[in-house]
Symmetry: C2
Subunit: 192 residues, 2 copies
């Protein structure tokens, strides 16, 4: 997509939904008035049959290409939890490490957000289901269709979540959207 570079007042965020087989990537520009615009969305894939060291190198190369092409100012990565002793969780954790590493190597700050933080930021409801999140992402970015696959939409949700959460801190005088207010309430509850 040929889009102009980020507006001076906007922050350009790369969101990464880490995974070995499909690593979702989404870049958005978010303005100070909290409006958002799609810059790039896609998926970095690696062959499940390939050796793990080659898969991780492919993912790193794919993420580096997105950073070089779209020049995000910050990288937001989904936080992975070790809830189950399953090898897929470890693969996801390794992919998240690669995303954070690539950010660091490009001198970009990185942040992680939990799935419920992302849901609360985008839909106003921390237990929203995946389809609600994806539909809201399409609405916020004024897209005709929900980005596919789900990992790509999740990466956009992460990028929006990051911009809104950090923007809300930076500009306390701006009014909160209902979703942001819900997130703030959820965070307050979580701190108790």
């Amino acid at each position: 997509m040929a889009l102009p570079r980020s507006r001076p007042s906007a922050v350009r965020v790369l969101g990464v939904d880490p995974g070995l087989t499909r690593c979702g990537v989404g870049v958005v520009d978010v303005a100070q008035d909290r409006s958002a615009r799609l810059v790039h969305v896609g998926v970095v894939r690696s062959d499940p049959g390939a050796p793990i060291e080659e898969r991780l190198a492919l993912i790193a190369a794919g993420l580096r290409a997105v950073i070089v092409e779209h020049g995000p100012q910050v990288v937001a990565v989904e936080r992975v939890f070790a809830q189950h002793n399953r090898q897929t969780v470890m693969g996801t954790a390794q992919a998240s490490g690669i995303a954070l590493l690539v950010a660091g190597e490009h001198g970009l700050p990185a942040a992680t957000h939990t799935p419920s933080e992302v849901k609360a930021a985008v839909t106003g409801y921390g237990s929203a289901d995946k389809r609600q999140v994806q539909a809201m992402v399409a609405r916020i970015l004024r897209l005709d269709e929900v980005p596919q696959p789900a990992d790509a939409a999740d990466a956009l949700a992460l990028a929006l979540c990051h911009a809104w959460r950090t923007g809300a801190r930076g500009a306390a005088s701006a009014p909160l959207t209902p979703a942001q207010r819900a997130w703030q309430d959820a965070e307050r509850l979580a701190r108790r």
Copy 2:
């Protein structure tokens, strides 16, 4: 340490005990007769107070420096399990992903081994305690002292484990050491 490059008949293995605060690295040459020689041992450290993206970039840089200086032919990394929902486990998993990535980016094959595989290979006993493993590493490599910290000794144990396990496969006619026989028995039991 100024040591000659690996002998033609030996394999040079880099072992990595992944960790964010202390990432153990050990390089050994292992000959076809299974004798082993220390090439390098050390620890790549990162500041627990630094942002995660910078810590991972430091670890990647440290591992790359060891690969460039010592030219291993293969990289062995401890396999991490998600047994507990603790952030340290995820940090270890991310560091292991970095070690595998760096191997892949240098065109080196990588392998993972579980802690009990390492213990069985080095001491002949899969439930050996850490000190037994470290004492055996010092004995095998004819060192006057156990390498410190423990992460460094563990990285050497991993490298030895990898060379012996893959060497035993490659040269079936060579007699097995007691430790290798114990490992083979343990592996057979694990397959049942």
